[in-house]
C-alpha cells in the first residue's frame, strides 16, 4: 500500500462518510499491509509527503481539516514504523518490551491526534466512530505492552523512601493509561453541545462506554464501571435509547448485567442480561453464549430455575460448563453436585461465576429434601374424609432427612445430626422449605399449604 494507495482508500471512505472503512485504512493488522505505506516515505520526509498527498489528492477539504488529516497520517506512519520494527524483531526472536512499548506510545499519539482534532471541531463529528476503532487497537497494544513489561520485570522492589521492601506498583500500567485516554474520549462524546442531535458525538457514547468496560474488566476495576454507568444515567439530553445501534445496546446491557452480577445484585443483573439476550443477533453465537454464562447462574439464584436441556443443547460450550452441575441439581444428587462443581472449578473461577454457582447447591439440597417429603407418603384418612381430602404427611422425622443425605451416590455426605438440622434450618431461612424444626420431637413440621414453594407441593 503506497502513500497514494492508502489515501485512495481514505478518500473513498471519507466521501461516503463511512467511518468503518476509514478506520480500516488505519488498521495496524495485518502488518504486511503496512509495508508499502511505510516504504513510501521516511521520517525525514513523511510530513512533506503526506501533506502533498492530502493537499493534492483530496479535493474539497478545507485547509484546516486537511491539516488535521495530515497530522493523523503522519502519526499513522510513525506508528507503522514502530509496528514494523517490532514485527521484524519478533521474527528475529529478539522482541523486547521496548518494542511493544514504543508501538503502544506511537499508537497513543495517533489516538490523541484524533482527540485533538475532533475536540476542536476540525474533523467532522462522525469521525468519532473511526476513533472508536483506532482506540480499540490502542487497547490491544496496551495489553501487549503490559505483557512484555511483566515478563521483563515481575516484581518491583522499592526504590525511594518507602517503608516497605516491595513497591506496590501497578501491573497494568499501559492499559491503565489507555483507560484514562478512553475516559477523555468518552468526555469528548458526552460534552458535545451541538443542538442538532443528528450531528452530535453523543451517538458514540455507548460504544465508547463498551470499550471502557472491556478495559476496566481486564484491569479488574469494577468501581470505575459503576461510575461510568452512573454518569450515563445522569446525562439528560441524549438521543433516544432505542435509536442507538442494536449492537451498541446489546453489548452495553450485557456489561451492565455482568457488573450487577459481580456485585451480587442478581435481580438487576437478570433484567439487564435478559434484555441483552432478547435483542442479541441470533447469529452471534459467541455473544449469546457469553450472555447465558451469566444469565444461567443468575436465574439459579433469583428463580431457582435450571436451564432447559434445549438451551444447553444449543450451546455445546455451556453444556460442558454447566451440564453435569445442572443434572445433579435436578436429581437432588449432592455428591454428584460436589463432584461436578469441583471439576468445573477452574473454569467457573475464570469466568467469575464460581461464588454464585456455589449457592445453587441449595437447590440440589431442596430437591433432595422434596423427594424425602414425597416419599413420606400420605396421612391416613380420618373419619369423614374422602380420597380428595388426602393430604401428605407433614411431620417428617429428622432421621429420614439424615438418611437421605447419607445415602446419596458415592457414599453420601458425612454429616452429623446437628449438621442435618443446620442444613434444614437454612432451607427454611432461605424460603426454600416452609415449616419448622422441633428438636424435642426430632421432627420437621412442614407447612400444610406448600412445603416446597414453587415446586408444586
Amino acid at each position: 500500500m503506497s502513500m497514494e494507495a492508502a489515501l485512495t482508500g481514505f478518500q473513498q471512505a471519507y466521501y461516503k462518510h463511512d467511518a468503518l472503512d476509514l478506520a480500516n485504512c488505519l488498521k495496524p493488522t495485518p502488518v504486511d499491509r503496512l509495508y508499502d505505506f511505510w516504504r513510501s516515505t521516511n521520517e525525514v520526509r513523511v510530513e512533506h509527503n503526506v501533506k502533498h498527498a492530502i493537499t493534492y489528492g483530496l479535493g474539497g477539504i478545507e485547509r484546516a481539516e486537511a491539516q488535521g488529516w495530515i497530522d493523523v497520517f503522519v502519526h499513522f506512519w510513525r506508528a507503522s514504523d514502530k509496528i514494523i520494527k517490532a514485527d521484524q524483531a519478533q521474527n528475529q526472536g529478539r522482541l523486547s518490551e521496548r518494542h511493544a512499548v514504543e508501538v503502544y506510545e506511537a499508537w497513543k499519539d495517533l489516538v490523541q491526534t484524533f482527540q485533538k482534532y475532533i475536540g476542536n471541531g476540525t474533523l467532522p463529528h462522525w469521525i468519532i466512530f473511526t476513533l472508536y476503532f483506532v482506540a480499540n487497537d490502542l487497547r490491544k497494544f496496551a495489553i501487549k505492552a503490559d505483557t512484555q513489561l511483566a515478563k521483563a520485570k515481575p516484581v518491583t522492589f522499592s526504590a525511594g523512601l518507602s517503608d516497605d521492601v516491595v513497591a506496590t506498583t501497578p501491573k497494568n500500567q499501559k492499559l491503565e493509561e489507555a483507560a484514562r485516554v478512553f475516559s477523555r474520549i468518552f468526555a469528548l462524546c458526552m460534552s458535545d453541545r451541538n443542538p442538532n442531535l443528528s450531528e452530535s458525538r453523543k451517538w458514540a457514547v455507548y460504544c465508547i462506554a463498551n470499550l471502557q468496560f472491556k478495559t476496566y474488566f481486564k484491569l479488574k476495576t469494577i468501581t470505575l464501571c459503576k461510575n461510568l454507568i452512573k454518569s450515563i444515567e445522569a446525562q439528560a439530553d441524549m438521543p433516544p435509547w432505542n435509536l442507538y445501534p442494536k449492537a451498541h445496546r446489546v453489548t452495553y446491557m450485557y456489561y451492565c448485567g455482568v457488573i450487577a452480577f459481580l456485585q451480587e445484585d442478581y435481580n438487576k443483573a437478570e433484567t439487564a442480561l435478559f434484555n441483552s439476550w432478547a435483542y442479541c443477533y441470533k447469529g452471534s453465537t459467541k455473544n449469546r453464549e457469553l450472555i447465558l454464562t451469566y444469565l444461567i447462574p443468575c436465574r439459579l439464584i433469583t428463580k431457582s430455575e435450571i436451564p432447559s436441556a434445549q438451551i444447553l443443547q444449543e450451546f455445546p460450550h455451556l453444556q460442558t460448563l454447566f451440564g453435569d452441575l445442572v443434572s445433579s441439581i435436578k436429581r437432588g444428587d449432592l455428591a454428584g453436585f460436589d463432584k461436578a462443581f469441583a471439576e468445573g472449578e477452574p473454569e467457573f473461577v475464570r469466568r467469575r461465576v464460581f461464588l454464585t454457582l456455589e449457592r445453587s447447591r441449595d437447590i440440589a439440597l431442596r430437591n433432595l429434601l422434596r423427594k424425602v417429603f414425597l416419599a413420606a407418603g400420605y396421612e391416613d384418612l380420618k373419619e369423614g374424609q374422602t380420597e380428595k381430602d388426602r393430604m401428605r404427611r407433614t411431620r417428617i422425622p429428622l432421621a429420614h432427612f439424615a438418611t437421605a443425605l447419607r445415602m446419596g451416590s458415592g457414599g453420601g455426605q458425612t454429616v452429623d445430626d446437628e449438621e442435618v438440622e443446620c442444613l434444614l434450618a437454612n432451607m427454611i431461612y432461605k424460603g426454600l422449605m416452609k415449616g419448622y424444626i422441633s428438636r424435642e420431637h426430632a421432627m420437621v413440621v412442614l407447612n400444610k399449604k406448600g412445603a416446597f414453594p414453587g415446586t408444586g407441593v
Binding site: 518491583t156 522492589f157 523512601l161 516497605d164 479488574k220 469494577i222 447447591r361 443446620c422 437454612n426 431461612y429
Partner: protein
Amino acid sequence: MRASPFDAPSQPAAAPSEKPQKVEWTPDVRDYVGRAFEPENTIAGISKEDTTKKLRDVISFFAERSQLESVDWSTYPLPQELLRDERAAAWAQAQSNPLFSSPNGPANSTFDTPQSKKRKSQDKTDLSESADMSVPPWRQTNLESRITYANANNQKRHKKNALSGDVTSKFDQADLEKRKQRFQLGKNGNSSTPPRNSPKPDTDADVDNAPCVGTNMSLEKSYFRLTAPPKPETVRPQHVLEKTLSMLRKKWKADKNYGYMCNQFKSLRQDLTVQHIKNDFTVKVYESHARIALEQGDMGEYNQCQTQLKALYSQNLAGNPDEFTGYRVLYFVYTCNKTDMNDLLAELTPADKMKPEIKHALDVRSSLAVGNYHKFFRLYTIAPNLGAYLMDMFIERERLHALANISRAYMSVGLRFLTDELQFGDDGECREFLESHGASQAIDKKIDEHGKPQFRVKVKEVASVFESLRQGAFAMVDIKGQK
C-alpha cells in the same frame, strides 16, 4: 549545622544575597562570596547548589564562633575547592574501606546527567593526584560533606571506576569534550534498559547510593517516616536487626505492648528497605509483624505485611507461605471481598488446596457460603496457627447470621443448644450475648426436677430482631469490602 534524619529537610540553597541576619559582613567576606560564584571559578562536577551549601556551612561555621574576622578570606579556599578536596580524599579512603558492598538497586539513569558523568571522570583523575593525602575518611565523620546528594553519587562512581588509571587534567578542553561524548554514549547505552516503574530517577539515584550497610549498633530504634535518604549511622545492619528481632519476639511474649512493638517493627522494616535487604530474614520480619498484628486484631498493619509477603514469596524466599495463604483466604472472608477471593482461588493449585492451613480456610469459606453455621463453628475451634484471631474479627457477625437462621427455623430451643452450636465458652456467655443483642425477653428460665435451672430460648419471637442485626452487621462489611 549538623543535619540528622529527624530534622525537616534542609532549606533550599540560599542565594548569595541571603545571609543569616545577625552577622555583619566585611568586604573580605563579601568578596569571597562573590568569587565563589564567578564563572571562571566553577569546578567541573560541583554544582552551584553544592557550592552554595558549602559556602553557607563555611560562613556559619565561623560566624557561630565569631571568627569571621580572623579568617583570611582572600586566601581561604573557595567552597567548591573545599568540596573537591573532600571528595578526592573520600574516594581515596573508599578504595581501602572493606565495608563497601555494591548496591543492588535498579539501573541508574542519573548516569545520564552531565553532572554525574563529569564528576565521575573528574574523581577518576583525582585518584592519582591525591592518593597520598591523609585526610580522615569523609564517610565516617564528616557530616557536612554528606549533606549534599552529590557526594553520595560520588561514592558510587568511585566504586565503578576503581581500577581506571586515566590521568587527565580537569580543565583540559579536550577532556571536557571527551566527557561530553561519554555522556552521549552513556545516554544511548542506557536507553535500552527496561523502563523502570519507580517514581523519579533522582530518588532512585539517591536510594541507590543510600547506605548499603548501616552502622547503627543499637537494637532499638523508633520509627520515623523518611523524607530524605537516611544516614548510615542511623541504620542498623542485618546482624543487628537479627538480634533486634529475637529481642522483640521475647518482649512480645513477656508483655503485650502493641504500640511499642508496632513502632519497633516498622523501623525494622524500614532499615531492611533502605539497605535493599530482600532475603529469608526479610520474610521472617514481615511474618513476625503480621502475626503480632493478627494477635492484636490490627487488620491494617496485617494487610500491609501480607501484601509484602505475597511478593516476597513469589521470589521463592523461605517462609511460611501456606500459613499466610490461609490467612489471606480468611481475610477475604472477613472483608466479603468476592473479587479478590475469586482471584485468590484462581491462583491456588490442587496441591495447595490440600495443605492443612489452606484447606481449613477454604472450608471456612465454603461453609459460610452455603450458611452451614454448624460446620463453621466447629472449624473455628480447630483453626490452625493464628487463624482463630482472624476469625475472631467476624465471629460476631456470623453468630448473628446463625441466630437469624435458627430463629426462623425453630420455635424454641434449649440454651445449651445455642451454646454448643455457636461455640460459646459456656451458657453464661451465650446468655450474655443474647441479652446484649436485645433477646432477653425470649429467654425462659425453668427449674427442672433436680432443682437446676434450665434455660430455653423462644427464638421465633426474636426472629426479626436477629434478622435486622444480621443485615446491619453485613451492611458494614459491604461498604468496606466493596470493590
